[in-house]
């Protein structure tokens, strides 16, 4: 198949941050300004297949895709951290490290958990669509507001949580 994808060559890219920590890009010598970095396969690759788009709010026109970054490993160390920070901002999906308390009532589950972002209480309703199986024992919970919580290994959560979750996966 004819390859029409624009893969970004790391030698052409220079990521930099503004003073207030917004990610910008100089690409092939041109200053693109604020860019966003999007995971193309968020359930499969966190640092590969990243789509880079210019995000020029001031002109109000649609975002423009600069190209695809095949892997973060390709870019230099000092820029790597910036892109990772941007990704962490764009994908705020705290990982559940332990379930403190979980209860079920009326088909809703109430969770008290410790996550990588801190302690959190949330409610999940409509379990059949809000407990997502990402494959390889990985689970995503989506709460009533649309916040996401990631469970990297379902077999390692506590018994009560497992009992509630295993029905839905």
């Amino acid at each position: 198949m004819e390859n029409i994808l624009d893969f970004i060559s790391p030698s052409d890219t220079l990521f930099y941050e503004t003073k207030s920590g917004l990610l910008c890009l100089k690409y092939k010598g041109e200053d693109i300004g604020r860019v966003s970095v999007l995971r193309m396969f968020p359930f499969m690759y966190e640092e590969e297949y990243l789509c880079i788009k210019s995000e020029n709010y001031s002109r109000e026109d649609k975002e423009k895709e600069i190209g695809i970054l095949r892997s973060l490993a390709e870019i230099p160390e000092n820029q790597l951290e910036m892109v990772k920070r941007e990704l962490a901002k764009r994908y705020f999906v705290p990982e559940i490290t332990s379930v403190e308390k979980v209860s079920e009532e009326f088909g809703h589950t109430m969770w008290e958990v410790t996550t990588t972002a801190g302690v959190r209480e949330f409610t999940v309703t409509d379990m059949s669509s809000n407990v997502r199986n990402m494959g390889n024992n990985r689970i995503m919970l989506i709460d009533v507001y649309g916040n996401r919580y990631y469970i990297p290994d379902i077999t390692k959560v506590d018994d009560k949580a497992l009992k509630i979750l295993e029905i839905w996966i």
């Binding site: 917004l22 968020p42 994908y91 705020f92 705290p94 959190r120 029905i167």
Partner: protein, 759 residues
């Protein structure tokens, strides 16, 4: 802690940061800059904004330094960024919990930055999305807190609905009491049969006859009562369910479209069908019986204590253990069956999906994959079903054993008493019959909480719909009688999700009798604009005025009567063509219908059908072509002679020949009416008085076709793009239809040409 309390806690710092200005709004946010959960306050006054996190001032800014702010919606949250004189900067970060509030904040700050009077929509900041008691989130779109909701209040509501049938329920209760008395009396008769007849030599035959006669009588009574009871209880519960279903259906019809679209159709159907059914089963088979059984249980327990206090202890002592074990096992069974049911569900869903898409499967030659996939799912179902059945078949005999255990104890000790002469055989039989009864009820009682919960959930789901806020008419200040059809869009903004605006600050006016064509890329907001005009949704900000009055100030029904609507998918209900024509105007005469059909160029083809206007259409009826359906729906739109006509892609899915007929029909019916038309073909809109070119939720250009072409802006470029695509379409696809259909200037809306090819 409630949001208000948290905000008050930091009011001192906020007040200083805002230079003592009066606070316009303040709200909580929950994510710090480094991506951890936090508690922070974001506050805005007329000239300042500030961010206070964990009691520390993080940021304060003069609004005059801000050019504008914008909201980035990301996975799991969002960020509010400001364009300041010194460049772009992040103001605050939050999870999805606060995104709607921050959308409004964003607009308010932008108003302030432009020096405009900000519109503060109180509803966006209302605290009614969390329970005031415990601070937990309500179930979406409800005010039901799963933690604090009073479980009995739901049943109270149910009783309220059952009130008209009070008489029936009291009769039922009385009938149950008769059965109960029979239940208590039968063992007494057995005792007498054994002690006074069987155990005595030369007992009188009369006593035997009397006792057997009485036993027969109790059986007959219990049989007759049970028949009457079943009839009455089925009647009572069916009446109640009918009421409930009617209530829900009525409610759904009055609900805003957004509510119905947000819920899945399946979910709503479930509530009307299954949940009410479950409530019926509960009332019919469980609730009344439960009242009775509990009373009977207590009565028999008292009798056993009265008969022999010590021996009754043998019955009662193992009871808690038995109850605990049964409960535990039931819970286990439930979760196992839940899993099995989910797997079955998966299989059925896949089956429906594949059968519906069988053409795709065959075209791509994926039959083998589908077979294998199905084999695997079916295998999963088999495995789990086998495992569950094995479990159940092993566990039930164990439950039975536990149940019977008390009876063995009674027999052991009672038998000993009979041997020592301190108890008669008849008394032992009577006692152990009561004991058996008590244990057999235990199992039933152990299921009660589950039935109770199920009915509770179902009732909750039903009442959730019933208690949802209806789309009510506001203060009706305008009369539709004199409506002429001029429209003004006064700074209208709207989004299906309020944080994703589809229309932004629409300012435009339309004269009466004017035909407006709406043009733009797909997703530009054309259909949304029409949805707002049709009052299917209300603007988040701003107003739409009809003849100077807000359209929400007209009576809902009167307003809808002003509109004639032709939608892209010309949905016809099952029924005759006449029924469908009269759907919009039940009072229309037969003549009105014929006139409308003639104007819509539908009359001729209707008359070619064997049953004329009585031809049955709809899902199982006569197969009309796309163009025919469309012309019927145009006729339907004009039967009531509406002042305003809305055409949403009225000619989207028909061939060019039919389109000509529809065009002709539309020309006739649009005369003298205010028309809003979306169409992707130029030919439809060339008659339009003005075109509104929507781009990214805003009206980018207005003018006639000619003016816009001369302007050489978005419209002209859209047109060019489509001409190109149309030419390409001809070269790629050589089918006659396409060649005929596509002439270079026919398309207006880019990317929508594929719609045609599907039909």
């Amino acid at each position: 802690m409630s949001a208000k309390a948290s905000i008050t806690k930091y009011s001192d710092i906020v007040s200083v940061a805002l230079n003592g200005e009066e606070m316009l709004l303040s709200l909580l946010y929950d994510v710090s800059e480094d991506g951890t959960y936090t508690e922070g306050v974001f506050a805005v006054s007329r000239h300042r904004l500030c961010v206070v996190e964990n009691g520390r001032l993080v940021l304060a800014e003069n609004i005059e330094n801000i050019e504008k702010v914008c909201l980035g919606e990301y996975t799991g949250g969002g960020i509010l960024e400001a364009f300041t004189v010194k460049g772009r900067k992040q103001l605050v970060r939050f999870s999805m919990k606060h995104i709607e509030e921050f959308t409004s904040v964003c607009e308010i700050i932008n108003d302030l930055a432009k020096g405009l009077e900000p519109v503060i929509n109180e509803k966006a900041f209302a605290e009614d999305r969390v329970c005031p008691k415990c601070g937990r989130a309500y179930i979406k779109n409800t005010t039901v807190c799963t933690h604090c909701s009073d479980k009995f209040s739901v049943f109270k509501k149910l009783f309220k609905i059952a009130k008209p049938y009070k008489g029936l329920y009291i009769t039922l209760l009385l009938l149950f009491w008769i059965t109960s008395i029979v239940t208590v009396v039968t063992p007494i008769l057995s005792k007498h049969l054994i002690n006074d007849v069987l155990n005595i030599k030369n007992a009188s035959i009369t006593t035997l006859l009397i006792i057997v006669g009485l036993m027969l009588l109790t059986t007959v009574i219990s049989m007759v009562v049970s028949v009457i009871r079943s009839i009455i209880s089925s009647k009572a519960s069916n009446l109640l369910v009918k009421d409930l279903r009617n209530h829900i259906y009525e409610k759904l019809q009055k609900m805003p479209l957004s509510y119905i679209e947000e819920k899945k159709t399946g979910d709503l159907m479930q509530r009307i069908n299954n949940d009410t059914q479950r409530i019926q089963t509960f009332i019919q088979d469980i609730a009344i019986m439960a009242v009775n059984e509990i009373c009977l249980f207590i009565a028999i327990a008292v009798i056993t204590v009265y008969l022999d206090a010590k021996m009754s202890l043998l019955i009662f002592l193992p009871m808690p253990i038995a109850l605990y074990l049964i409960g535990k096992i039931r819970l286990n069974i439930r979760s196992r069956y839940h899993k099995q049911w989910r797997k079955m569900d998966k299989m059925t869903n896949r089956l429906t999906e594949v059968l519906n898409g069988i053409k795709v499967v065959k075209v791509f030659g994926r039959e083998d994959d589908e077979i294998n996939r199905f084999k695997k799912t079916a295998g999963d179902v088999r495995n789990i079903t086998c495992a569950n059945e094995k479990y159940v078949y092993t566990i039930f005999p164990i439950i039975k054993f536990i149940m019977g255990f008390g009876a063995y104890l009674v027999l052991l000790f009672g038998g000993n008493k009979v041997l020592s002469g301190s108890m008669s055989v008849g008394e032992l039989v009577q006692f152990s019959t009561y004991g058996g009864y008590l244990y057999s009820r235990l199992e039933w009682f152990s299921m009660l909480p589950r039935h109770f919960t199920m009915a509770l959930v179902s009732s909750q789901r039903v009442f959730e719909v019933l208690e949802e806020e209806e789309q009510l008419d506001g203060d009706i200040k305008a009369s539709a009688d004199k409506a002429e059809g001029s429209f003004t869009f006064d700074n209208v903004s709207f989004g299906y999700k309020s944080y994703r605006r589809v229309l932004k600050n629409i300012e435009e006016s339309v004269k009466k009798g004017e035909m407006i064509g709406l043009v733009g890329h797909s997703g530009a907001g054309k259909s949304t604009m029409i949805n707002l005009i049709m009052r299917l949704y209300s603007p988040d900000r701003g107003k739409i005025l009809l003849d100077g009055s807000d359209i929400s100030e007209y009576n809902q029904q009167d307003y809808k009567n002003l509109l004639g609507v032709v939608l892209q998918e010309s949905y016809l209900f099952s029924g005759s063509i006449l029924d469908n024509l009269k759907y919009a105007a039940p009072k229309a005469t037969l003549e009105d219908c014929i006139i409308a059909a003639k104007k819509a160029n539908a009359h001729d083809f209707i008359m070619e059908l064997p049953d004329g206007y009585n031809t049955y259409v709809g899902e199982k009826g006569y197969k009309l072509s796309g163009g025919e359906r469309q012309r019927i729906s145009i006729a339907r739109a004009i039967v009531a002679n509406p002042k305003i006509l809305i055409l949403d892609e009225a000619t989207a899915s028909v061939d060019s020949d039919t389109e000509l007929k529809i065009q002709d029909a539309l020309k006739k019916v649009t005369k003298g009416k205010t028309v809003f038309a979306i169409a992707h073909r130029l030919s439809t809109l060339k008659n339009a008085d003005r075109l509104f070119v929507l781009d990214n939720g805003k009206i980018a250009e207005t003018g006639t076709h000619k003016e816009l072409l001369e302007k050489n802006g978005i419209y002209a470029s859209l047109l060019r793009a489509q001409q190109e695509m149309a030419t390409r379409g001809v070269t790629i696809d050589n089918s006659d239809k396409i060649k005929e259909e596509i002439t270079p200037t026919q398309f207006i809306n880019e990317g929508e040409e594929f719609d045609n090819e599907q039909d």
